[in-house]
Amino acid sequence: MSDFVRKNICDGVAFGSITDDRFKIGRLSATLITPLDRKTAAANALLSCVLTRSCKKYPDFTALSKKLDSLYGAALYPSVRQIGDYQAVSVAVSGLEDRYALDGQSVSSELAELLCSILFDPNVENGLFNDEDIEQERRQLIENIDAEFNEKRVYAIKRCVDEMCAGEAYSIGRYGSRDEVVALKNEDVYAAWKSLLANARVELTMLGSSDPEKAYRGFESYFSGSPRVISPAEMTVKIPEQVKRITEKEELSQSKLVMGLRSAYFKNDRDCLANSVMSAVLGGTPTSKLFMNVREKESLCYYCVSRVDNNKGVMLIDSGVETENIDRTEESVLRQLELMKKGEITDGELEEAKLAIKNSLLSSLDSLAAMQGFYIGGVLREGQMSPAEAAAAADEVSKERVIELANAVELDTVYALEGNRE
């Protein structure tokens, strides 16, 4: 496996590759990053779906699906993620490495061509996408957004973030809102396409055993001579004077408790890692303070987990509990956080949190999807480390540093979704 090699095509457009012959499937992706903005979030999200539905060369859903089938079931998929206050719209293809094709077909070069067709030569005419494509994908995106309510753990976390970060770009969400998707016009999606290609920060990645040169040239011929600088996101943080409390009710067997907290925020990768160690000590592993106390000692729940979004400085702690135990669980969680702030962290707890983080970082080297996610997730930070460098850096995080970072954590919002079914 080679290191991650990153070349700039021009300012704001980078092509990164890892040459690795351990896998049967190779991956190629294009990620377009812009500050999250109410005016464009929904259009960008719908664009990613419309782009992967058809293109000039394969002008409808079935034609494009048949093409993918003929490439041994290659996958083409849109994804939209949030990186702090930024929105990252990706289109990725993955498919069989050439040496495994039964008929000597070069799957990889066809996939590179296909991704370029999808991005640069979509199914547009007279400044508009195909209307049917827009309507079909709009319907599905709306169903997707609606379905977030179906899984209550996901929904409760989203509601907590909505309330906690109201008025901040962070709460716009990766898809924008349902109403914004409903109101989109074909022109808006077309404008999103034009604008993202011209102005977004672009991260292209190719991972696998094929020579990245061909894909590189395809992208270079489009992007070279088109430098861009994305404006920094606003990064507003509105901390309430007293803890916000929101309770909602649903017909559920189990109540969900989500606590939204503010943690320290850093641009530097190394500091972010220390923050992750802090969160892991509190509630990131099966021997963390939350697991050992809230679950094992008090038998209050099946899960009680903390995680930190280092691209924003937001920490979330969530659990599923009996309705009458909501307050007790909150107290129990806060007691553990208080103990950490006072420095009650054993050497064992710190060591185990570091081991878990190192294990997870080094394991990501065995999956191309995980490696790609790792690089894209940290691309906006300074001093980005490789998984191996990050694992080594985790070792250096001191107990004092963890205590200091725990002391930067403040409770902001408590969201409870109360169930009332026996």
Binding site: K24, T62, S70, L102, A147, F149, Y302, E352, L362
Partner: protein, 423 residues
């Protein structure tokens, strides 16, 4: 005693297998250049093992016992296994399915210590009144979490609509009431019946040396004598219980599962049967199919739509699932297409297309240690060899697929399960 080396040219990989003198089956699958190692130890004992013969005696256990046992096995007299794993840095877990229970870890360092923990935990049951009682609250919350999961409910309701007597229609974790009946004695009885090395498999996948695994096994395994245990399954009629079932839950988009029940048999599906089914379903409802397109154009499905072949001892069903504003229309549409499919069969073009897709997806599975390990374990329990499946997929014919179709997708023997919100 030596490993047998099993290799495959199409996959370009190999693995080692042996029946250890202790009775345990050991499989080591080296992945060249991989950083991490995934180890999994499984026993052929899951939620459908609710009634069995053990040493000439008939035993019936409360619903949720296999899953409860999984939780409690993590504890031994000298502390719980999670705490031990925490010191090696391994990420550990376990799961109980309908027909097996697996304990696993993944690590990049301290492999030897982690494997010792895994092997030890499987061999040191420690159940007391107090430790069993402590788990009631935790598992109670796990059960309630699943009660609120529409995906889980729509599937369990489907099984209730398909199966009259087969224990697949019992929730894996049981209910708050049934787990209250579980005692240390019941857990020991199940442990002694099914956590026997002759009924178990250890698989290790990743950057690992087979000899190292064998050394640890030799050192740690305590041999056990084979026991006489036999699963008792009730008679199951061919016909479904009902053709429609629904539950109202707080959901914004209704969910559906459409299940086509097949003739039950006491045999697992073969590699060939499974591959034929995958090709058949890919040709029938894959993304490039006419049916998928027509469901999409009518606004009836979205990208959550998919299918699964669920089979084991005494149960076989093809399940199509997804989210839809109008599940009944989806089911009608699919049933019409099924009738037409039985009349026309799969076409040559669709077959060639689908075979390529299935072949590509099978090879893709070899990139994931977890997927290899799980296929190796279930393969051991069901008699399906991993590599020969790839060769069979490359050689399957259209006639094989159309012959398979005759035994599947009976439009008169299906059930639609729906979870929807308040009207």
């Amino acid at each position: 005693m030596d490993f047998t080396r099993i290799e495959n040219k199409r996959v370009g990989e190999h693995y080692f297998r042996m029946k250890h003198e202790s009775g345990l089956t050991v499989i080591v699958y080296p992945k060249k250049g991989f950083n991490s190692i995934y180890a999994s130890m499984g026993t052929k004992f899951g939620s459908i093992y609710s009634k069995f013969m053990f040493n000439g005696k008939e035993v019936t256990v409360p619903d949720g016992t296999a899953h409860y046992l999984e939780h409690k096995l993590f504890e031994s007299e000298d502390g719980d296994a999670f705490s031990k794993y925490a010191k090696t840095g391994a990420s550990a877990n376990a799961f109980t399915s309908f027909d097996m229970t697996c304990y696993l870890f993944s690590c990049t360092d301290n492999f030897r210590e982690s494997l010792e923990i895994l092997i030890d935990l499987m061999q040191t049951p420690y159940f007391t009144k107090e430790t069993v009682a402590k788990e009631q609250g935790i598992i109670g919350q796990e059960i309630k979490m699943y009660d609120d999961s529409p995906d889980w409910r729509v599937m369990m309701n489907l099984f209730g609509g398909l199966y009259h007597n087969h224990p697949i229609n019992i929730d894996i974790a049981g209910s708050v009431e049934t787990i209250a009946e579980i005692t240390p004695e019941i857990l020991y009885e199940c442990y002694n019946s099914y956590y026997n090395l002759n009924n178990m498999v250890l698989t290790v996948v990743g950057g690992v040396d087979p000899q190292e695994v064998l050394d640890i096994v030799n050192k740690r395994i305590k041999p056990s004598d084979a026991v006489d245990t036999r699963l008792i399954l009730p008679e199951e009629p061919y016909k479904v219980v009902k053709s429609y079932t629904e539950q109202v839950m707080p959901v914004a988009v209704p969910l559906f599962d459409i299940g086509f029940k097949e003739d039950s048999t006491d045999k697992y599906a073969t590699n060939k049967e499974q591959i034929c089914t995958s090709i058949l379903m890919n040709a029938f409802v894959g993304e490039s199919s006419a049916l998928y397109r027509s469901l999409l154009d009518k606004g009836l499905i979205n990208s959550s739509f998919g299918y699964e072949y669920l089979e084991g001892l005494g149960y076989r069903s093809l399940i199509l699932s997804g989210e839809s504003r109008d599940p009944k229309a989806v089911a009608e549409h699919i049933n019409e297409a099924v009738i037409k499919l039985h009349k026309d069969g799969v076409s040559r073009e669709d077959f060639e297309n689908a075979r390529k897709v299935v072949y590509g997806k099978m090879l893709a599975g070899f990139d994931h240690k977890q997927s290899i390990a799980s296929e190796l374990i279930s393969g051991e329990f069901t008699g399906r060899e991993l590599f020969s499946a790839v060769d069979e997929a490359a050689e399957i014919t259209l006639e094989d697929v159309n012959e398979r179709l005759e035994k599947q997708l009976d439009a008169d023997n299906c059930c639609l399960s729906v979870v929807k919100g308040e009207e």
